[in-house]
Symmetry: C2
């Protein structure tokens, strides 16, 4: 049987609830009498190979609960993507510290790390229980109804667009908001949940699951502007042409070609600015504004889904339970069992590792520039309670006196 | 005496609480038996000259309260800056509709409009009571402790930086966040209220009240990076060189010169991208990220200061009371009377109209790249109750085994 020492770490981009999973592991582990110490590795796998551990059993319950409610990875994170050799290093350190249980909170790259470490342990005949705990704001893990972290980021995006729509209605024009998600459009699609009235924005939503055609985009914006006198657009940072080339690169190249010079257009604001420039020059519309939501959407403190918090805590708890009672390695996954209710399963690591989920066809409108009601039904319960709501004055026009 | 008809309108950039003032006017006005109808002009002064009015007395109390809690201008806004002739048009329409009281919620441009309309009425010997109600996220109205709208935007900026700091601590590097405020640095300075621990960001804060020197900026970033292994920077969109030229323009020109071509660098993401590019190339730091907070900071739904809500409601109410009991025109202003308590005064319109407040020297640190405790004391009570708080794990290092 595995020894009584537990190691937990966090990898990849932080989320608003990733610490719930960390604390879920820590508190649940200490309820098992077979488990003695719970270590945390600082900055993910990097902290493992560096033996940079902190002892979580010397932390108070109160502070653990406060940390659980704090966004971003409390242990620190890393962008290291371990290859087989790196995983062998990880295994060596785990063995040296007599770790019996390894829990890694992360996305699909992290699940692959867990898979290789698990194999190394088996090869060496070392008793190590390895569990991957899901998280990602992109919602791109296969075999999960959704992943912890996505609902809170989705809530931020929905609230942001609800506000931006009100702003744009007040001072009409075109607004383009760029949302994270290089391959999966779930987070961009979440912008639709900010709509209440039929004429509310976002009027157009572009996800990386569909080829982006600049001419169609401009035609869509023009039609919306003519209909409503304004247009709010949600665009995924990952939009690309038919060949898969990112639109930001293509537009930058076009600019470069025009100027016969070298344009340095790296940096996060580029795509919004370039699309706005296209709208201004090609459609001759004056008030065009673009924002790139950037890091705010994954780290904003004070915008979190309580459903997401609860589930992120539960996947951490369940990871420990699966490890202790289940006697096998795997990846914790979320299954929807009601509207709205979930349960958790332990999947084989290779069912999740290194695979990428994208938006299902039934979630994307036929015109490729909106979401379906199926998507709204899917996402709504995840956003949690207390979603702010927008109200407007009812039309009670006063008869004109001077220009009857 | 003025007639019983009231007109209210909203001008300039929307805020999270500007509808509180609108509803404050509407509900308070109806408590005076001398007042009959309350009209709202759609899209500010533009709606007045177009006679685009809605009758707010045909609205339910419930919906008025719901609208009060909704961000952005419910009546719509405008960027029109009326000259004397435009104000004469406004006055003509007010007279044609037998308006006796004109309330305009807006910034310093709007107060100037109210001033001119007031003068036109006097010249024509028409009994019109004109009151300016303050709002602006920039906090740049003179003779006010602060202006409604600023506290909620400040809260967004503080929460955004609290989150961004946690994100940056998790995945260390340089982060540059661009904050609104072309002439006044109050909103950028609000980023300091997101700090809790001594090593938290923002480590550097640049406001337009001080000349921005690129070399000093790079030296500051370098020193911070060497000390903490990371650096979070808050930068006002309005930073400029000694001549007053915006830094975004200067950096874009430099780029243009390098490339011997024409670079089109308009658009909101440019300043962040350009500063990041400078850091990457001059300091050779790899992980450099920049965000422009853009419209999120003034329209985000669900991030509001309850103090701001209350005060925005009160300035609307007081405007009506000053008009009805005070028998003179003016601009409502907020005076701080305790820590924390306020009262309201009616100032002469020309005391506020067209003037711009900037950050007081006592609020800016001597090095020009931080705020003072006086500023923290000034701002903290305005952010309201329920500010989210960040917690971290306490250091309990585990002894190394392999590399003792």
């Amino acid at each position: 049987m595995a020894t009584g020492k537990v190691l937990v770490a966090q990898g990849g981009g932080p989320t608003a609830v990733i610490n719930q999973s960390l604390i879920g592991v820590t508190l649940e582990a200490r309820r098992f009498r077979d488990i003695g110490l719970v270590y945390g590795a600082r900055h993910g796998v990097r902290g493992i190979v560096d033996e940079d551990f902190i002892d979580l059993t010397q932390e108070t319950s109160h502070n653990l609960e406060m940390v659980a409610n704090t966004p971003s990875s409390a242990l620190g994170s890393t962008r290291d993507k371990p290859d087989v050799q790196y995983c062998q290093e990880i295994f060596k350190v785990l063995r040296a510290h007599e770790i019996g249980h390894f829990f890694y909170v992360g996305g699909n790259d992290s699940s692959d790390t867990v898979r290789i470490v698990s194999e190394e342990a088996k090869k060496a005949n070392y008793p190590l229980r390895c569990i991957h705990i899901p998280k990602t704001i992109d919602n791109d893990l296969v075999s999960n109804d959704h992943t912890p972290g996505f609902p809170s980021a989705a809530r931020f995006v929905a609230q942001a667009f609800a506000g931006v729509n009100l702003d744009n209605a007040s001072l009409p024009g075109i607004y383009v908001g760029i949302v994270m998600g290089r391959h999966a459009g779930f987070l961009t699609a979440a912008s639709a949940l900010g709509k209440k009235f039929a004429d509310d924005g976002p009027h157009l939503i572009y996800v990386p699951e569909r080829t982006f055609v600049l001419e169609n985009f401009l035609a869509d914006v023009k039609a919306t502007y003519e209909r409503f006198g304004r247009c709010v657009v949600a665009v995924s940072e990952g939009i690309h042409d038919a060949s898969g080339a990112p639109i930001a690169t293509l537009l930058a190249k076009e600019l470069e070609h025009d100027a016969h010079g070298n344009v340095q257009l790296s940096g996060s604001g580029a795509l919004a600015d370039l699309l706005c420039e296209e709208i201004k020059t090609k459609l001759k519309i004056k008030r065009v504004r673009g924002d790139t939501f950037g890091y705010l959407q994954r780290s904003f403190i004070g915008c979190v889904s309580d459903v997401d918090q609860r589930e992120a805590r539960e996947v951490g708890e369940k990871a420990v339970q699966f490890a202790m009672w289940g006697k096998r390695d795997g990846s914790v996954s979320i299954k929807r069992t009601g509207y709205y209710s979930v349960d958790y399963e332990l999947l084989p690591l290779d069912a999740v590792a290194g695979k990428t989920r994208t938006m299902e066809d039934e979630f994307i409108a036929e015109n490729g520039a909106d979401v379906t009601d199926a998507f709204r039904m899917y996402l709504r319960p995840l956003l949690g309670s207390g979603m702010p709501d927008a109200f407007r004055l009812r039309p009670n026009p006063v008869p004109k006196v001077m220009r009857k």
